[in-house]
Structures are given as structure tokens and as C-alpha cells.
Symmetry: C2
Subunit: 388 residues, 2 copies
């Protein structure tokens, strides 16, 4: 086991009906609230009206910042920071999926920073404090509700980058599974692909003697696989939505990686270039890239892929060596993505070979990536070509 330093101070309020606690939880912290949200969906499904009523009951002074988009932009963050500074906002309330929560995190941190919030993406250590952040999650996917990551896109520079700093943990996150009942099928699938990819990034590594973290990662994968059909067949299956939501949170709250292999985090930066260039869904991009990355690194850790095949997919060994068994596990993973309706080739999302070289170059712009195999531009390009 590696040495590590872990502290996750986010308070999670989980369950049916807990959305109604949003007013009181905000009121405990302050009176002037910046309420960040996305598009029209929370108005259609009634979450907006419900949150608004609870905030009104507590007589909070609410400033709204709607219109956060998927692959959220730094411009929207800047707008929020300016509003917070001008109005003396005491806390940020983010109601939405990962894009909204990430935007809320960087607004909360940017409010305590004199410079431009994009600086955080040049140097994570410039994040030193934030105003409190309350979140109400409406999409099970990124784990942003209980982690210290925030991914933001800069349209001017064409970059989509992640910042990571313990300051960014939300203060309180309300996880009400009923808020995901109306998530459309394709977004549900993308969210599930995203959380599965988070587990992959933390499970496939060359670090020995991480048995508990391995088993917890396997437990997450098996549970996601078991419960995915339930939410796809019946979008209002409460326990189905609850289990998937909880898996999404546990898949990326840093527990697996800190006490495990420390995190591979290779396919995420590769995918970020896909979604920055083509604006495809993050989960879709990951479902495409991951099986190809797996094949690319299989020869370095065949024992881990064999363990994955046996424990997660229940594939019997039948005399095969680790490499062959591991390969069968990778094939099964790709089939599963197809089964649940995720794309597994770039072609399916309309991406051809034209810009692969450009994206490969950008993925390693700040240095080589990966742990199991260290990847430079040529290696990333090869994985992208395999994904066509």
C-alpha cells in the first residue's frame, strides 16, 4: 500500500424528499445566495419551483445564474464570480448535474481570489479558499457532489481542463434520487458510462497490494452492471435510481484512488479533447476510448485484467493465461457499453480521422499522461486511431 493523506469533509444528505431541506441548509450558512443552474429541464420537472419555494420560505436573498451548459464554460464562471463579488454573496447553491456543480465550485473559489479564475487551471495551487457551496444533484454521473474536482472549458483557448484541490469539496450535497426520474435515457447511459470510467481510472494500475480498494472497485462495477437495466427499463424505479446515484458518488470521491493505486487518469484527458473539439457527451467519449486504452496497456498488467474478467464479469478461466482472460474481459466491457446503448466507436458519434492528430497533441500539451503506460502524442494518436 502507498502512503496517503485523505479527508473528505462533504456532508451528504441522501434520500427521497431531502430536496426540501435545501432552504434550511442554506439558511444555516448565510442569507445571500447565488443560485447556479442549467437550462430549462429543472423548470419542466419542477425541481426549480420546489427549490425556489424552499428558499423563499427561509427568506433568503437569491441571485440567479442560469444557463450553465454541458462542458461548462469559463465565461459563465467569470459572470458568477463578478456577481458574487459585487453583491457580497455568502454562499453558492448549485442545482444540476456535474457541469453545474463544477461551475459552482469554481465560482465559490473564484470569489475568494483576486485574479481570473482560469488561473486555477494553469496552477491548481492558486485555489486557496472558497465561500460555502451547497449542491442539489439532478444527474448521477460525475461524482462532483462529493469530490474536489471541477472541469471547465475555455472556448477562447479550446481547452477543457480539470482542477483538483481539497478546497473544492462541496460543503453540503443533497442527493435525492427522485430528482433523476426525468433524466432522459441517453443522459442516464452517459452518466453510467462516466461513473464506470471513473472506477476504471482508479482500478487498472500497476501498484501492488491494494486488495480492499480492488474489491471495493469491483463491488462498484458489479453493482452498476446489476442496476443499470433497472433504471433503463423503469426510469422511476426508486431503488434503482438511488443505487446508481450512490454508485456515482462513491465512484469518484477519491477514496478508491487515495488508498489504492493513486489514479491512472489517462482516458479522461484524452476524452476531454474529444468533447472540447466536438462537444460530444463526456460519458460517450469515455465508452469509446476506454476499451481501446485497456487493450493498449493489457500487456503491462495482464493479471489485473484477468482479475477484472473473473471477478467483475464472472468469466471462467478455462485454462487461459492472464492476457487471454484479460482480453475476454475487455471485449465483454465493450459489449456491455453497446448493450446499454453507449457508442463504442468514434464513427458512431460522427468523428472521423481528420482531427485526431490535433487532439492527440493537445491531450499531452502539458506533459505526457498515464501511469500504467506513459503516453506521449504518438501513443495517444494510436489509441484514438484504434477508436475510429
Amino acid at each position: 500500500m502507498r502512503n496517503f493523506d485523505y479527508c473528505n469533509p462533504t456532508r451528504v444528505i441522501f434520500g427521497r424528499g431531502e430536496t426540501d431541506r435545501v432552504g434550511k441548509e442554506c439558511r444555516k450558512i448565510g442569507r445571500k445566495v447565488l443560485w447556479v443552474f442549467g437550462g430549462e429541464s429543472i423548470k419542466k420537472n419542477g425541481i426549480y419551483q420546489r427549490v425556489e419555494a424552499r428558499l423563499r420560505e427561509e427568506e433568503l436573498e437569491v441571485f440567479q445564474l442560469g444557463g450553465v451548459k454541458p462542458n461548462p464554460r469559463i465565461d459563465k464562471v467569470r459572470e458568477g464570480v463578478a456577481l458574487c463579488k459585487k453583491e457580497g454573496i455568502e454562499l453558492v447553491l448549485a442545482v444540476g448535474g456535474g457541469s453545474v456543480l463544477d461551475t459552482g465550485k469554481i465560482i465559490a473559489a473564484g470569489t475568494c481570489y483576486a485574479g481570473d479564475p482560469w488561473d486555477f487551471y494553469i496552477d491548481n495551487s492558486k485555489i486557496t479558499s472558497k465561500i460555502p457551496l451547497v449542491t442539489v444533484l439532478t444527474l448521477a454521473a460525475t461524482g462532483s457532489e462529493m469530490n474536489h474536482n471541477a472541469v471547465i472549458t475555455n472556448e477562447e483557448t479550446g481547452e477543457k481542463l480539470g482542477a483538483k484541490n481539497p478546497v473544492l469539496y462541496p460543503t453540503v450535497s443533497i442527493l435525492d434520487p427522485e430528482n433523476t426520474y426525468t433524466v432522459p435515457r441517453d443522459q442516464t447511459v452517459n452518466g453510467i458510462a462516466d461513473m464506470m470510467a471513473h472506477v476504471f481510472e482508479q482500478y487498472f494500475h500497476p501498484v501492488p497490494e491494494t486488495p480492499l480498494q480492488d474489491r471495493w472497485a469491483e463491488g462498484l462495477m458489479k453493482t452498476i452492471i446489476e442496476y443499470t437495466p433497472r433504471v433503463l427499463e423503469n426510469p422511476t424505479d426508486y431503488d434503482g435510481r438511488a443505487v446508481i446515484m450512490w454508485c456515482g458518488t462513491m465512484a469518484l470521491n477519491h477514496l478508491l484512488e487515495e488508498a489504492g493505486g493513486g489514479g491512472e487518469w489517462t482516458c479522461h484527458p484524452i476524452e476531454h479533447e474529444l468533447s472540447a473539439a466536438y462537444d460530444i457527451a463526456h460519458g460517450a467519449g469515455l465508452a469509446i476510448v476506454f476499451p481501446q486504452w485497456m487493450k493498449y496497456v493489457l500487456d503491462v498488467i495482464p493479471h489485473k485484467f484477468a482479475q477484472f474478467a473473473e471477478r467483475v464479469w464472472d468469466i471462467p478461466r478455462e485454462g487461459r493465461d492472464d492476457y487471454s482472460l484479460g482480453l475476454a474481459g475487455i471485449e465483454r466491457t465493450k459489449q456491455w457499453f453497446q448493450q446499454i446503448g453507449a457508442p463504442v466507436t468514434l464513427k458512431e458519434v460522427g468523428i472521423g480521422p481528420e482531427r485526431l492528430e490535433e487532439m492527440a497533441e493537445r491531450a499531452v500539451k502539458r506533459g505526457k499522461i498515464g501511469v500504467t503506460k506513459v503516453l506521449g502524442k504518438e501513443e495517444v494518436l494510436e489509441i484514438l486511431k484504434m477508436s475510429l
Copy 2:
């Protein structure tokens, strides 16, 4: 899934050599330290000298409170609280196993309380704040290093009780596996029995739809079973000690129960009466009582015991119904306790039938216990008789 509210703010610093950070971590918090520890063992193995040197380097003003015993006493807590109040202590440093850490927790909370700290055991809600608590763990067992429990014995009343309150989470816990190299074999076994029992208390419950928490509990049990022979055969196997230490922490940091079944916690109060009356090791008492409790409740949740037999012990079903398969899992559990050298009958620890009735009565003194089966005095007595 049940609704829940979870927040675990303890910072864990884990790994080889991290003991040396104790001085700086204390210094970040304050200058006047009450250092709580147990008997002579930390002087023999050098942990005392090492901690003392680090505290001296930071020029901390240190007040010592040694002599905390297993099944720690409220008198020692009172002594610590008086010292903290008199000297204006700013933080408590607890260096030891669960008994020392629990004593440190109640001293830290008692320092912020006007009345007698035993009041906390009459009414947990009287715990409202504490001075900061830093811990250095020297025994993998209770999980006290990352949870909000503290078990204390009152010799006057003959009671051994647990208090539970979010205030009691340690501020910082240093988990250095090398600090457990010198733990004797019987204490290592008792610690392992204790952590296994913690998982049992949170795994066997009638609440449906807790698939992730089930798999994580199973992952803990399988890892403990796999790594126990390593630490028994080679007490200085670093990764063996590290994995067992991490399992002990994860087995009781409230994550399994909050997002799971909410916790059974039946065998713990029964065992507390055994160790209060006879001063036996807590882990030993649990290894004796648990298999009998399992048999006693098997008919209520046979499916859970069947799942346990299949997933944890890899016992094939071979046409058996849940009850028979579950019974095989329970028998295997008892055999495992025997294999690792834990007692499985009261006779082995010198307890006869004489005081069973008295202990059964005391176990339910504050009301019936248990969830899977609610137990009154007669039911507890039956389980104790089965354990003879």
C-alpha cells in the same frame, strides 16, 4: 435504500513513517497538549520516545496522562478532563489502541462540558463540542481512529457503554502500519475478530436494496480473511499490517451502516457485559457470541446468510436452500475464528453459567436490543447459553 445523513471529517494520514508528522500536526492546532497513552508497551517498542522527540522539536507544552487500560475507565477520563480544564489544554493527543483513543475522545469532549463526562453515557446529546483530537494508532481493531464512537466502563456501576456523536470524530488520525509490528499474536487476533464483528453488525440486516454496501462489506471480509494469515505468520509484513489496519478503519467509519442497513449492533452490547463482568478481550467475546447470534437470527434473513456463504466463503450452493447454505456459512465462520486462534466458547475464556442471567439482564437494561430479531432478557440469555 434508506435515507441518510453522512459526514466524516476525520483526516487520515496513512503509511510508513507518518508517525513523524505528529509534532507538526499538533503544532498546527495549538501549543498545550494533553498526551494520553496506555501502559509500558509504547515505551518498549519506541513509539513513546519517537512521539516525545517530535513533540519536543515543535516546542509543545506537553502534559502526560498514561495508564489507560483495556476496557478504559471513566475515572481516567475524569482525571484527564480535570487536567485539561486546569491547564487550559488546547488539544488532546491519543497514542494507542481503541481504549486510548476512546478515552481521548471523551476527555476532549468532557473539557467542553460543565458536568461529569459520565453524563454523556446517560444521554449522548450532551456531547456538543470538543477540543481538537489528534491520534496515533498502535492497534488495528476498533476503528476509533475514524469514527464517532467511544466505549467507556464505569466501575462503580459496573457498566460498559458506548457513546456515539458526530462531535467525537478525531480531527487528524495518523495510521502508521509499522506501529503495529510489535502487537502480540493474541491481540492481533482479537483486533481482527473485532473488525470482522463490526462488519457483521452492519451486514446482517433485513433492509432490502443495499447492494453496494453489501459488496463493500463482503470485500472487507474477504480481504481480512485473505490477509490475516500474513500478519500471523510474519508480524513485520508491511503490506499485511497495512491492509489489516486499513480494513479496521473502513470496517467502522459509519459508511457501511449509514448507506446500508443502519446497523444491527446487538452482539456488541451483549459482549460489553461479558468484558465488563470478566474483563476479557472485546474481540474474544465477539468471536464467541457472534456465531451463536447468527444461528439465532438465521431464519429471519436466510437469503442474506446464503449470500454471505456464497460470496464471502465461496461455498457452492449444491442444491441447498438459503437456510442450509446460510448455516454452512455460519459454521465456516466459527471454524475460521478457531483457525486464527480466537475462542469460540465461553468455557475457553473461563466463563461458566453462573452469571449469564445477570449479564443478560444488564444487556437490555436500557431497553430491548437488535433489529433483525428484537432481543429481550430471555433471548439474550438463550444466546449466551448457546455460547457456553
